[in-house]
């Protein structure tokens, strides 16, 4: 698989200014911009890393640069939501998609472990849904509250979930605004801190699960975000990352993206 990716990257480098992918060196694995003529034997695809954040930064810093990126399914979905919000210029990005392994799909509870622009590899079977989602769904309100308060009590307020997230690119973050989140509290105040993030993620979360991997306190954040993703689909028919042409539903009118259920309050 990786040999094939190296071959495609070498081909694309003939035309592009560079390709963003991971690089393995004696110091470890890190995102890297490979240029024409570079030693591609150092190219690496493991572990998963939100490379679209790097692409976005490069696109903003160099307005003429034409890039390639080696992307998984979740990277490509992140790209779709970022491009819609002017964080990446789709005209200047070429996606070299590869399929995740069946084990990775399982680990990530990923229902689409491959990109639409699949260049290398074959799609593995999708992973199962996260069993914690159904478990939380089945709990009565007071037990849900106890569960989440226990989880949020572990929070170190390191902002790792936000910092790693490819969809968190606001210049001013509501989670740092003293008007909404009282500063100086550990654990961060309930219900504001984590629920603000969950609400902001509703139309953006592409289930890459980087937040949960990053969280030093092992808070199962994606359970909350999976529930919001489910709501976006049932209430507004919106699946983040699926369709470049679909406008972000919370930013447009009911005529453009109508509510599909629970419309009695609109009368």
């Amino acid at each position: 698989m990786i040999e094939e990716i190296r071959k495609v990257v070498a081909e694309r480098l003939e035309e592009l200014d560079g390709v963003v992918v991971l690089r393995k060196s004696s110091e470890g694995v890190a995102p890297h911009l490979f240029r024409k003529g570079d030693d591609l034997s150092e190219l690496e695809i493991v572990p998963r890393y939100p490379l679209m954040t790097v692409v976005s930064k490069l696109h903003k810093a160099f307005p003429d640069i034409r890039l390639g990126v080696v992307a998984r399914g979740c990277d490509e979905r992140a790209f779709v939501e970022m491009a819609k919000r002017n964080q990446i210029d789709p005209e200047r990005l070429s996606i070299i998609g590869f399929a995740c392994t069946a084990e990775e799909a399982q680990e990530c509870y990923c229902d689409e472990p491959y990109p639409q622009h699949l260049v290398v590899g074959t799609p593995p079977p999708p992973g199962p849904p996260n069993p914690l989602v159904a478990k939380c769904d089945a709990l009565p309100l007071d037990e849900r509250r106890a569960f989440w308060k226990h989880q949020f009590l572990k929070c170190l307020k390191c902002y790792g979930c936000r910092n790693i997230c490819p969809e968190c690119f606001c210049e001013a973050c509501a989670m740092e605004d003293a008007a909404w989140v009282e500063p100086g509290l550990l654990a961060p105040p309930f219900p504001v801190f984590h629920l603000i993030r969950a609400m902001h993620m509703a139309s953006r979360c592409v289930a890459c699960r980087q937040c949960e991997l990053t969280c030093p306190a092992h808070i199962p954040l994606t359970v909350l975000y999976d529930l919001m993703r489910r709501d976006m689909e049932t209430l507004l028919g919106y699946v983040p990352g699926a369709d470049m042409a679909a406008p972000p539903p919370l930013s447009v009118t009911l005529d453009e993206t109508p509510l599909l259920v629970g419309t009695s309050h609109l009368e």
Binding site: W148, P191, A202, T253
Partner: protein
């Protein structure tokens, strides 16, 4: 001494419709209990999820968001955003274990002073039945 629970409710009201209805209700001397703290906003679409969550955090037992009927928004489609946001936020509250009935969205036009009184009184009773939120948030 045990004092009876009196719900503390914050109502975000749109400047163009609901606030006028509330004003008319007052001028017409319609009877209302003093449980509702009104906050005038220029549009119900201005009421962000942060504002609602912070209001609960600050001690409100219930939050009402009220604005113009769909089609009557002073800014054409400001209330369209509210219409999508509030159901999502209600679901999120329930996922975190907070009763979603503590957040209610209602359209009240400037001509609907009796409806304003009816909606707020009904909501006060809903929250009275649910009890104080502080139990749910702090303990």
């Amino acid at each position: 001494m045990v004092t009876e629970f009196e719900p503390r409710i914050v109502a975000f009201m749109c400047n163009w419709c609901t606030y006028a209805a509330a004003d008319t209700a007052g001028v017409s001397r319609m009877q209302q209990p003093p449980n509702v703290l009104p906050i005038r906003v220029m549009c119900s679409g201005r009421v962000s999820p942060e504002m609602v969550l912070r209001t609960f955090r600050a001690g409100a037992d219930g939050v009402l968001v009220m604005g113009c009927h769909i089609g009557d928004c002073h800014y054409s489609s400001g209330n369209h955003r509210t219409a999508k946001r509030v159901p999502l936020l209600r679901n999120l509250l329930s996922y975190a274990g907070i009763n979603p009935d503590r957040l209610r969205l209602a359209w009240v036009s400037g001509a609907e002073a009796p409806r304003f009184v009816e909606v707020t009184n009904e909501f006060i009773e809903t929250i009275r039945a649910l009890g104080p939120l502080s139990q749910e948030v702090t303990e």
